[in-house]
């Protein structure tokens, strides 16, 4: 039977842990709010952009223009680049393991292909590093800051690789923020770009030829795609951490309750034992 001192020590230790998980939950909640605001703030641009891309692509198609662009070129998918957006820190429940699991499933599904992995976030980097997979690049500490310039730099590198015929397809795996308790795992094909031109293009005056406009618009598709994944992932990460830390705090409370009950029983038992000893000692004397 553990002694009273041991029990008290354990209760104190669990209480300390609970304080930490509670604090982490509060921090995650505050960061989540900011991350959500950023997701919202980025929405108008991507909405206007998608509409513009559809209009221009539709116009280019109806004009019968030559719309061949390096980023539209479809090749047999022999060399695949996978961009995996994870978090830099752990303690976020199953957030990162869901991502790495999905990535492994994806690798298994496309078994014959030659893979390169671009890791955004420390956890994904570490995962593939331990498995001695080929990493084409790693980007740590960019997700939380969520600056567009970072996303654009990654996109530039990847578009260049695609244009130079070093890779045949680019996929993106990240967590999308659905709600505080739900993240949705997303697997998106970034390149080649699949543009759905709008059916009835509006009657615009095009200062540049639609085909040329399309050429400058397309690289932005990769940039905004990666940027959006980073924003969504940041929001999901904080939400996942918040839920995980909330569960941890509740668990700690349960453990403390159980230990306290046990402590009281042990204390009572020892008091009872002492009384019996005194009483029987007195009886022996009398």
């Amino acid at each position: 039977m553990p002694s009273l001192i041991d029990l008290r020590r354990r209760i104190r230790s669990v209480k300390n842990t609970q304080q930490i998980t509670k604090a982490m939950k509060m921090v995650a909640a505050a960061k989540l709010r900011r991350a959500q605001e950023r997701v919202m703030a980025a929405r108008p641009y991507s909405e206007i952009y998608s509409q513009m891309l559809a209009d221009v692509a539709g116009a280019a198609a109806t004009a019968g223009a030559d719309v061949s662009h390096p980023l539209l070129a479809v090749r047999e998918e022999k060399r695949i680049l996978l961009i995996l957006v994870t978090s830099d820190r752990g303690l976020a429940g199953a957030f990162n393991s869901n991502l790495t699991k999905a990535a492994q499933v994806f690798l298994a599904e496309n078994n014959g292909a030659d893979f390169q992995i671009e890791a955004i976030g420390r956890k994904g980097r570490d995962f593939f590093f331990r498995r001695e997979m080929k990493l084409s690049g790693e980007h740590l500490g960019v997700v939380d800051k969520a600056r567009f310039a970072d996303a654009a730099a990654i996109a530039r590198k990847i578009t260049a690789m695609y244009e130079n015929d070093e890779i045949d397809a680019v996929y993106l795996i990240y967590n999308e923020f659905k709600s505080v308790i739900a993240q949705k795992l997303m697997q998106v094909k970034l390149l080649p770009v699949a543009v759905a031109g709008s059916e009835e293009p509006k009657d615009y005056i095009y200062e540049q030829a639609p085909a040329q406009l399309l050429g400058t618009l397309l690289p932005k598709y990769v940039e905004t795609g990666i940027y959006r994944a980073m924003l969504e992932s940041a929001a999901s990460e904080h939400a996942a951490r918040m839920t995980a830390m909330d569960a941890a705090s509740t668990n700690a409370a349960d453990v403390i309750e159980g230990l306290t009950l046990h402590l009281n029983r042990v204390r009572q038992a020892s008091i009872t034992k002492e009384i019996i000893e005194i009483v029987s000692g007195a009886a022996a004397l009398g």
Partner: protein, 133 residues
């Protein structure tokens, strides 16, 4: 007075969503002066100064390159970056202008000409907007 809805968005945020009575946008083929009822148009735009008039007051923004879409009652501007005069870091702009000029004047083999030119233009636009505050 008739107005149109002007929206200026960067990938990070929506900077302007306001009714404006007039706007001037630096298109790559020349300055675009826009009044209410402008014909629908799509154009690329260059780094430079975007000015617009809202409730009789003129506003200036330093923008990086992007696109503009004009439809019946809306003008939507997509740019890489956009700053109001009091947001501009003059020192940083001066430094990046210097850096870009150096790169253009003593070109190395792997010089990305378009990017260096664009960096110079962007810095110039920022400085011009900051000075006319």
């Amino acid at each position: 007075m008739s107005t149109f809805l002007l929206e200026v968005a960067t990938p990070e945020k929506l900077v302007v969503r306001n009714d404006a009575s007039e706007a001037q946008i630096p298109g790559t083929e020349g300055m675009l002066g826009i009044m209410p009822g402008h014909a629908p148009l799509i154009s690329e735009i260059d780094s430079g100064e975007l000015t617009y008039t809202m409730e009789g007051k003129r506003h200036t923004l330093a923008i990086a390159k992007g696109w503009v879409e004009i439809s019946s009652s809306k003008v939507r501007v997509l740019v890489d970056s956009c700053e109001a005069p009091d947001e501009i870091d003059v020192k940083r702009a001066e430094e990046s202008l210097k850096r870009a000029n150096e790169r253009l004047l003593s070109p190395k083999q792997d010089l990305d000409l378009a990017r260096a030119l664009n960096a110079a233009k962007r810095a110039q636009a920022r400085l011009a907007v900051a000075r006319n505050k």
